[in-house]
């Protein structure tokens, strides 16, 4: 039985609406708007409800403008909901009590905690004072973060002289110096190279495992979600579309498998990609050919029956059956028209 003390985040019917000005392009429309301004209401988040237990790592997925960041802002106290309630670590975020703020971290973008003009270690020291971390604990935490994020060569250089990936690692360290129990991570690997992304993912995973922190992260990189999150929330047009395991989402929305067929190099299929395409075409839709390999999309229900016949293809060396890439699954989930905006005067 889940008790209230086991719940890190409880969101009930969270809604956030904005009233934004609209006008047509051009000088005339601009002058007209001085006197008569048109606005429209944008419901960035609508009636979103979910619970996250302490220690969970949850991915928050959605296309641009879906409402992910707005939801994170409401949960961290940056923004008041238009209606509905949120409780994080037993506190109401919108009240922004200092005790609550000491227990959370929010990372959005790459310029958050560090002072641009001075080395990161100076900013770390300031944050130690701000969050009231005692020196011994700070030293221990900082040493750990320096090791985990490989920061030793970076922290005595002015932050503006660091690369994007280096800055992001320092920002992560800055956000975690006070050992927050709740991490809100908004696109933590955005703009980073592959190696830096991997490093950040590993760090977040280890931090959560070691400290038992609860993590809610948004990302456009499915590799982040697949590597970190056991559970996903999918939001689109401000509404929660799905709440469950990522694999369950894929199974629900994808009725296809990808079969990669490999031909022997000397065979007809291995020598000529067009021949390979012709050979596998009866089994499903050919989506890619590359050298001696050919990828074909097969309906999930037909896989078992067709794979037996596949083995009879001339020159076939080997084949593998995989789920559709999660990116393609998510594309399908997000394919729906946006509601018409309401224009008011």
């Amino acid at each position: 039985m889940t008790t209230s003390s086991d719940i890190a985040i409880s969101a009930e019917h969270l809604t956030r609406a904005f009233r934004v000005p609209v006008r047509e392009p051009g000088l005339r429309a601009s002058m007209r708007s001085l006197i008569k301004r048109k606005t429209r209401e944008v419901r960035a988040v609508e009636d979103v409800s979910f619970e996250i237990a302490r220690g969970e790592v949850v991915g928050f997925l959605g296309p641009n403008g879906a409402g992910k960041t707005t939801t994170l802002k409401m949960l961290s106290g940056l923004m008041h909901p238009s209606s509905g309630t949120a409780r994080v670590l037993g506190a109401e975020p919108a009240r922004r009590d200092h005790d609550f703020l000491r227990r959370i971290a929010l990372i959005m973008g790459q310029r958050q905690q560090l002072h641009w003009d001075i080395p990161a270690h100076d900013s770390f020291e300031m944050l130690r004072v701000v969050y009231g971390v005692d020196r011994a604990e700070y030293r221990e935490q900082l040493d750990e973060l320096i090791e985990l994020l490989d920061l030793a060569p970076l922290i005595d250089k002015p932050v503006r002289q660091l690369s994007l990936g280096e800055r992001m690692r320092c920002e992560l360290a800055a956000a975690l110096l006070h050992r927050p129990e709740m991490l809100f991570l908004d696109e933590p690997t955005l703009g980073l190279d592959v190696q830096a992304q991997r490093r950040v993912r590993e760090f977040i995973s280890r931090y959560a495992a070691r400290t038992g922190a609860t993590v809610l992260l948004t990302s456009h990189y499915m590799a982040d979600i697949e590597a970190l999150a056991s559970r996903v929330l999918v939001i689109h047009h401000g509404r929660l579309q799905f709440d469950g395991e990522l694999r369950e989402l894929a199974d629900r929305t994808s009725d296809r498998k990808l079969v990669t067929v490999r031909f022997e190099p000397g065979s007809a299929g291995g020598a000529d990609p067009s021949v390979a395409r012709e050979l596998v075409a009866p089994f499903g839709e050919v989506v890619d050919t590359d050298g001696t390999e050919c990828v074909v999309e097969v309906a999930r229900a037909d896989v078992r029956a067709r794979m037996t016949s596949l083995l009879d293809l001339p020159g076939i060396l080997d084949f593998t059956v995989e789920d559709e890439p999660i990116e393609r699954v998510m594309e399908r989930v997000f394919e729906s028209a946006a509601p018409e905006p309401v224009v008011t005067s």
């Binding site: 904005f18 802002k73 961290s76 106290g77 940056l78 923004m79 008041h80 922004r96 200092h98 005790d99 703020l101 000491r102 959370i104 971290a105 929010l106 959005m108 973008g109 310029r111 958050q112 905690q113 002072h115 003009d117 001075i118 100076d122 900013s123 020291e125 300031m126 701000v130 969050y131 002015p158």
Partner: protein, 254 residues
């Protein structure tokens, strides 16, 4: 931490100090010229006492001014306020802390230069040692009051985002009614009364006049009372205004 930042940009620090002093020197030079043109004095100020007034004002201004009317709206507009709202203290306190660091730098640079200017312009002040000490004692209170008033004004950016035009008006009021452009005695009585009804004069012109002896030491307690009153009233008004502003602030751009 801001002292560390200032030390990082030494040339900027030097130029800033110079520009800060030059502005006051210009006002001082104009009024010295006016006094000389009017036979040696105007409204009770001679060239020497004008010099004394403006050089003391220079120090009082640096000890009480804040950048809150620039910093806060800038943060709101660029989306930089959001990460500061996540910290467990008021975001404006960071700017206030930066100002303390600036004042340390100012004491090291502007005060010695002002002392030299005192000799160069043969500045005179009529205030007693007690009056100067009383003025120094008022400066922390004036600084707090000024910070609160600046924050209340800057909070309008939470709704309006861009307040450049309003800020120019705000600084114009400060310039005229605070005594920075000219001592209050040079203005008509109705304008002097209006200035005394607002906080600007009490945070800038009044400590200056106390130090140079044109405001009586025996009434320094009134100045302290007025400053305390403005601080308390502004603080009380600021609480609901700030809460409402944060509610209206949409944390966009962050």
């Amino acid at each position: 931490m801001y002292l560390v930042v200032l030390a990082q940009y030494r040339a900027n620090m030097a130029v800033w100090s110079l520009a800060s002093i030059l502005q006051i020197i210009v006002y001082m030079s104009v009024w010295i010229a006016v006094a000389d043109a009017r036979g040696g004095s105007t409204s009770g100020y001679t060239a020497n006492t004008f010099a004394g007034y403006f050089l003391v004002l220079l120090i009082v201004r640096d000890m009480t001014m804040t950048w809150i009317p620039y910093d806060l709206p800038g943060q709101v507009r660029k989306g930089d306020l959001a990460p500061k709202l996540i910290r467990p203290f008021h975001p404006v306190l960071m700017t206030v802390a930066d100002m303390f660091a600036f004042r340390v730098q100012s004491v090291l640079t502007v005060v010695p230069i002002a002392a030299v200017m005192f000799l160069v312009f043969d500045a005179r002040i009529a205030g007693s040692v007690g009056a100067v000490l009383a003025a120094i004692a008022l400066i922390p209170l004036a600084s707090v009051t000024r910070a609160l008033v600046d924050t209340l004004f800057a909070s309008t950016s939470l709704w309006l985002v861009r307040i450049d035009g309003i800020r120019n008006l705000y600084y114009m009021l400060l310039l005229l009614l605070g005594g920075q452009f000219a001592p209050l005695a040079l203005f008509p009585a109705w304008l002097q009364n209006g200035a005394r009804a607002l906080p600007f004069y009490w945070t800038l012109g009044y400590p200056t006049e106390l130090a140079i002896g044109t405001a009586p030491l025996s009434e320094a307690w009134i100045g302290a009372l007025v400053l305390t009153g403005w601080a308390l009233v502004t603080f009380a008004v600021l609480q609901p205004v700030w809460r409402a502003g944060i509610r209206a602030h949409e944390a966009v751009g962050s």
